[in-house]
């Protein structure tokens, strides 16, 4: 019994984290809850999941969220079609989070980051290569899945090319802004949740631009502005992200 109590006190202290433990979970909830209306309009729904994994896991997660969402919103076709593109984008943003923890944390823990820092290329280039590979391995498969999910939820097939292009461009931004969160969370406990909290607010612009462009096309409006803003965001992330990641890695190494 005393053993149990000792363990319980320890677990409580660990979970409470000197008062900071619950903050992470609350912040994560706030982020998902505010991102959702941005993408879907103002449809209520519930979603939350963070794990770690590879491209396949990200794809599986994307499929799960994309099919879970209709169950939460209700299954009337008209209602589903209205949220189809938005929910595809939301699932995309969440799925892009999944393999971020792997990006720097593994190298940091097994000492490979030391080796990478003493290589021929500067850490900025290392960060760039990692994010680019992340985009190709996880972002590109997700971009292929995005139109499928949107059509399955009832979006028009004519939208598929735009959804694919927007998801591809958005995935580039997700991977480079996500990398900043992954690098900043090095050395911290529960890196995965911390990454989500840092990164989800940064994911708001691409979700707005991407879902907005597709919605505009569906409504017969000009969709180029949204797509161009999305591309501008992603290119800015590609240009600036590596510097932030390299600085965060240097800080973690010291």
């Amino acid at each position: 019994m005393t053993g149990f109590l000792v363990l319980f006190r320890r677990e409580l202290a660990l979970a409470w984290g000197r008062g900071g433990g619950p903050l992470l979970a609350l912040a994560f909830f706030a982020c998902t809850a505010t991102l959702l209306p941005l993408a879907v309009g103002s449809q209520p729904a519930r979603l939350a999941a963070v794990a770690t994994g590879s491209a396949w896991l990200a794809l599986a997660f994307f499929a799960c969220t994309a099919t879970l969402l209709p169950l939460a919103v209700g299954s009337q076709p008209a209602r589903l079609a209205a949220v189809a593109t938005g929910s595809a984008w939301l699932a995309l943003a969440l799925a892009s989070l999944l393999s971020l923890e792997r990006l720097f944390a593994q190298d940091y823990e097994d000492g490979a980051l030391d080796l990478l820092a003493l290589g021929p290329a500067p850490l900025e280039a290392v960060a760039f290569a990692k994010c680019l590979a992340q985009w190709l391995a996880a972002g590109a498969p997700l971009a292929f899945a995005a139109p499928l999910a949107a059509i399955a939820l009832g979006a028009s097939t004519a939208l598929a090319p735009l959804i694919f292009v927007a998801a591809l461009a958005g995935g580039l931004g997700f991977s480079f802004t996500g990398g900043i969160g992954a690098a900043l969370s090095l050395g911290g406990r529960r890196g995965g949740v911390l990454i989500a909290v840092i990164v989800l607010p940064l994911f708001a612009p691409p979700v707005i631009f991407g879902a907005g462009a597709v919605e505009a096309m569906a409504g017969g409006l000009d969709w180029r502005t949204g797509l161009m803003l999305l591309c501008a965001y992603s290119l800015a992330a590609v240009a600036l992200g590596p510097f932030a990641m390299a600085a965060a890695c240097r800080n973690a190494l010291s």
């Binding site: 593994q106 190298d107 823990e109 097994d110 000492g111 490979a112 980051l113 030391d114 080796l115 990478l116 820092a117 003493l118 290589g119 021929p120 500067p122 240097r250 190494l253 010291s254």
Partner: protein, 204 residues
Amino acid sequence: MISSLHIEDLAVDRGDRRLFAGFGLDLRAGEAVALVGRNGAGKTSLLRAVAGFVRPAAGRVRFAGAAGDLDPDEARSGGVHLLGHHDGLKTTRTAWEELLFQVRWTGGSRAGAEAARERLDLGPLCDLEVRKLSAGQRRRLALARLVASPRALWLLDEPLAPLDAARRAAFGALMAEHLAGGGLILAAVHDPLPIAAREAEIGA
């Protein structure tokens, strides 16, 4: 090519605590220095300061080549091997994949990696995933990159700890070869190195 390392009046802090201050050391081509000191004296931090990861609170680290001082960043990215407590090996990849990556990343060639594989007797392990290797086998795999990609300054943190007596002697021969070729070795150790080395005590 680094021909000498000069550590001048170096002080390193960890948080609010000063680990050591006023540490000085000159290391020239062909020399090995065994860095000794009690646990927590700052041996690892000193090695990481030389590698450029830890910013010193005072003093400086200079690398000199045949034609005078070198740019520290260039000297580190082209002339320094750091082997820390962790071997930097990904557990899910095969030993050969990891060796080849590490060798190529640090400027070596495939031929160099193959030669190092024979030299450190890693042939039978190459197809295995790193997670299936013992601590000593992993260390030998990590040491192979030192042999395979030519860099002048070796910074070693307890390099021999997981190795058995025969492997220690074999690695001693590799270190002697490196020194004979104009290399420099700075190694943090508790056990004596298997080669003749000057001793420098930290935090005495």
